[in-house]
């Protein structure tokens, strides 16, 4: 009997039902204390009473049980009076009203469902005021059954057998829910195994596993065989015909043929994984290798390591073993080649050359400012004769408002049409090794001299 678990799983639902907060109202803090004496006595008497009535019901099959007999059974056990037992029995026999919303209609209005009769767990004989006999109501029997619901894996084989019976009865609609139930049991069992492998102080569970190890293995095998048998049976020709007929019925219309097969497949997959996990546990038990690390006071360790620091080597060891790491491979990074790559790109690119300052400066581009400042001067000098790099540098055309414009000035020699787009007759000659000039910033420029000149001086001198 696991009444506390059954009650714990429904207590908050009932609290919510009884909660007086309306939708959209202020914040509500659910109380953690329950009303009443908090002794737990009436709960114990009630569950004992129900259990006793259930046992008597199994013997007598719906016969009334005299209150006197109940009193004899329970009074001494709980040190309570006859009135106390009547109080509990009356409480359990008095219906209460539970309201839930069943659905919303097409206008969004809730369709409420009221349960009252079902809340009475014990019943008195009808049409009389005598309260000397009672028995469990249908709801009472159901609640006892719920409290007894076995969740243990040892009983899972029986549930797997239900799959075969469902096919037998052509109850194909039940197969997905039966499968889900079985998969849920597999997961629950798997979680227990995980707990055993990971947690300390699981002695009770560990003893259970050690005692029932072979039984558990047998159940795993049994479930697998049952599901395989059901899947095979489902695949027989005769059954397939029945299934196709069923699919055409009202119940089968929401089904696809694949659903049932998928259900079998999911259980078999889950059972296979469970089997592997169980083997891990078995080998851990067999080799006594269940090394579990429990709770560590990391907060105190932090204080301790401030007062008594460990060595740098130990810190490095810890960070290397457990801290964040990155792959640091001694190989060239693409960034190492960025200069080379950009030059290669420039030589093949059809895009217009863009100077870096253009992107961030609202002023005209530096080349535009350079041409605006010096174009006329350069053309005037060209009208007189060829203009060398040295001459230009000496004329001061490599600085503009304290900005170095040497690249722009040299750019004129590579693209003379910048000076005069309408006339392409400007040419550049090279004087090998003749360049040797001191720049305003103190650097010296040496190499081939570049000389800009008109290809046909007579025509262009007049135009300039």
């Amino acid at each position: 009997m696991d009444w506390p678990l059954l009650l714990a799983s429904t207590a908050r639902l009932l609290d919510l039902h009884d909660c007086d907060r309306g939708p959209g109202t202020t914040v509500y803090s659910p109380p953690d204390k329950r009303p009443g004496t908090g002794l737990g006595l009436w709960l114990k008497v009630a569950t004992s009473l129900m259990q006793y009535l259930y046992e008597r019901d199994l013997e007598s099959n719906d016969a009334w049980v005299p209150v006197e007999v109940i009193f004899e059974e329970l009074a001494d056990r709980h040190n309570i009076s006859r009135e106390d037992i009547l109080f509990v029995a009356n409480y359990l026999a008095t219906p209460t009203r539970l309201i839930s919303i069943k659905a919303w209609d097409e206008h969004g209005a809730p369709e409420r469902q009221t349960l009252k009769r079902e809340t009475a767990l014990i019943e008195w004989p009808r049409n009389t005021k005598r309260r000397d006999r009672c028995r469990l109501s249908t709801s009472g029997s159901r609640s006892v059954l719920l409290s007894q619901a076995a969740q243990k894996w040892l009983y899972a084989a029986d549930d797997a057998g239900k799959l075969e019976r469902a096919i037998n009865y052509c109850a194909y609609g039940d197969i997905p829910s039966l499968s889900e139930g079985l998969v849920a049991q597999i997961r629950r069992f798997s979680k227990e195994i995980t707990m055993l492998l990971e947690r300390q102080h699981m002695d009770e569970l560990m003893s259970d596993f050690e005692a029932h190890r072979d039984d558990y293995l047998e159940v795993i095998k049994g479930v697998q065989e049952s599901v395989e048998r059901a899947a095979d049976y489902f695949g027989t020709k005769q059954n397939k015909e029945q299934y196709l007929c069923w699919l055409e019925t009202e119940a089968g219309q929401s089904f696809t043929p694949y659903t049932v097969q998928q259900s079998f497949h999911e259980i078999l997959q889950a059972i296979e994984r469970l089997s592997r996990k169980f083997q891990t546990l078995v080998s851990a038990l067999a080799s006594a290798k269940r090394e579990v690390i429990g709770l560590i006071r990391f907060d105190e360790a932090a204080v301790g390591l401030a007062l008594h620091p460990c060595s740098d080597e130990i810190t490095d060891l810890c960070i290397t073993a457990l801290g964040p790491w990155s792959a640091d491979i001694t190989a060239p990074s693409p960034m190492d080649f960025s200069g080379i790559l950009s030059l290669q790109q420039e030589s093949q690119s059809s895009a217009t050359m863009v100077f870096e300052d253009e992107a961030v400066d609202d002023l005209p581009a530096l080349i535009e400012r350079f041409l605006h400042a010096y174009r006329d001067e350069i053309l005037a000098e060209l009208a007189k004769g060829p203009v060398s790099l040295t001459a230009g540098i000496e004329n001061g055309w490599v600085e503009l408002e304290e900005v170095d414009v040497l690249p722009q000035f040299i750019g004129v020699y590579s693209t003379p049409e910048w000076l005069d787009e309408s006339n392409r007759d400007l040419g550049v000659s090279v004087g090998s090794g003749e360049l040797d000039v001191l720049l305003p910033n103190g650097n010296r420029l040496q190499g081939d001299e570049l000389i800009l000149h008109w290809v046909n001086p007579t025509v262009n001198i007049s135009e300039a």
Binding site: E266, L295, S326, D328
Partner: protein
Amino acid sequence: MDIGDIGRVYHYLLKYRSVESKPIQRRSRDGESVIASILRSASADQLDQLNEFLAPQGFKVIEFDDTTRGVPVAGRVWVLARSEDAPASSFMSTERVFSEMNVRGNGTQEESAVWFLHIWLIYLSLVYTRAGRGVSEVSSYVDATFSREALEEAVQDHISHIRQMGVSEAAGSKVIEILDSEKGKDVPRRISAYMKLMCAAGLVCEIDKNEYQQTLLGAYEIAQNYDSSLRIPIDNTLGSLVNIVAPGVDDNEVEDAELWA
């Protein structure tokens, strides 16, 4: 899984540290579904071969199925974990820890290491100690959530506590000097650096803005490698802590300290 597939899987795992066939807390990363398909269709022998390839580099791939909490039904998660049996890979670097934690730009490696270690221990106290969770409880990674605010508050509390204790107990400790030297926004900046490192390494993930959770990889590695790493200084220092703290603490704290001494 041919040699090209192994290359793809290896590259992906080096970059992201984990592959999920059905991520539930984030969108699939670029190429993740392809890598998951490769791993999913790999036979047990092929996965063994992948692990043989990784073993000399100090790594192993661990597969988790839906019997693990947090893995969706029919889903799989693979993580690239450091192996406890092999030495660390030659290309594995922790240099980034020191550079990221150097938030002022002029700190020493020792300062970075001290800050990292202490924020790390406080993080571990949040997701293990406070939760009553043992180090071996890998599957509880799904419950190991924390906010940046909570971590910051815990670190600030730790520093205040150290300042108080440090004066009377070990005023000369260099570590106390380092922790005591924090000012202004140092702690928030160091926590940002810490979270950035942990997220990049796949040990922690950001599940919402400033809300984090330990990853399966993070939990697995701690459970596997704790004995050979953090246990050494922690066992050592908790032994010392009893002697230092015992006179001034209540019975419960002494009981805890003795438990791990």
